[in-house]
Symmetry: C2
Subunit: 140 residues, 2 copies
DNA sequence: ACTTGATCTAGACCTCGCTCTAGATCGTAG
DNA sequence: CTACGATCTAGAGCGAGGTCTAGATCAAGT
């Protein structure tokens, strides 16, 4: 879970945006919302410098968001990590609960998929018959 | 794809809400938005009476929504069905495109799942070691 | 007739998760 | 030095997808 780069120099917000797929707006927004573990370093001029830790954390955030974790939970998780060791059990519970939700989601999607596939089949068959069906159920 | 009921009597909005899992508010909202194929019948007093066709259509809507189809696409689909036969090819395209999106979604979720599972493993191991790790990467 | 609960309409309101704007500043290339 | 693009802050705005409210009406039980 480390950036493929060999270099360890901190990155600007634009580069981080590219690497994470988040917009620069979203990156600033996430920071404001307290979704990051630590405060992001700044240059003397006030520009953000992201370490590879920051980027790794963001990549995890992206995965969690992608799988439907609400920002509030992400924030909670970040707070736990921020407040250091001693709460690993709670972090584990949070992640595991989310994993279960993801599993449920996958199952639901697979069910949807099969319904859709069935419907696609119905249409395909209908079209193969060459529009011959006058007795065609309008709800399908 | 037919309601398990033997009876064919039309249903009130509350019963349809129960059967579809949509709220009565959402049912009225969907209707306003033109997501239904036909106009819902009314009693002399103005109450909606849903036929089993309506309910079946709604059940499909629920599946499509659950799998992330936007209301706009659902509306488009409803319009195609409403305008009768002759556009089955387009309906098929719409559904098949959605199925592909669902497949992509499932794949993405499975990737997320594996990242999360890995992270859960990291925590579980850490806890099993009995908090013994001082050299504990803070981003995990 | 009266009460109670479900339903009606129109439209305001809400949450979520960003996205965009304005106006200022930084930093690098020429 | 001058441009020019990238970044800064604070805060407004937005699109999706409903949810909720008010005030009226309907329908069924007693």
């Amino acid at each position: 879970m480390t950036t493929t780069e060999a270099a360890e120099q901190p990155l600007g917000i634009g580069e981080v945006a590219e690497r994470t797929g988040l917009s620069v707006h979203a990156l600033r927004f996430y920071e404001r919302e307290g979704l990051l573990v630590g405060p992001v370093q700044r240059t003397s001029g006030g520009r953000r410098r992201y370490t590879s830790f920051d980027v790794d954390w963001l990549l995890i955030c992206v995965k969690l968001r992608e799988s439907g974790m609400p920002l509030a939970d992400l924030k909670h998780f970040a707070e736990l990590v921020r407040h250091g060791p001693g709460n690993e059990a709670e972090r584990l519970r949070l992640l595991d609960a989310h994993r279960q939700r993801v599993d449920a989601q996958i199952q639901a999607l697979e069910e949807c998929r099969s319904v859709i596939t069935w419907k696609v089949g119905v249409y395909a068959e209908h079209l193969a018959r060459g529009e011959a069906g006058g007795l065609w159920d309008p709800t399908t």
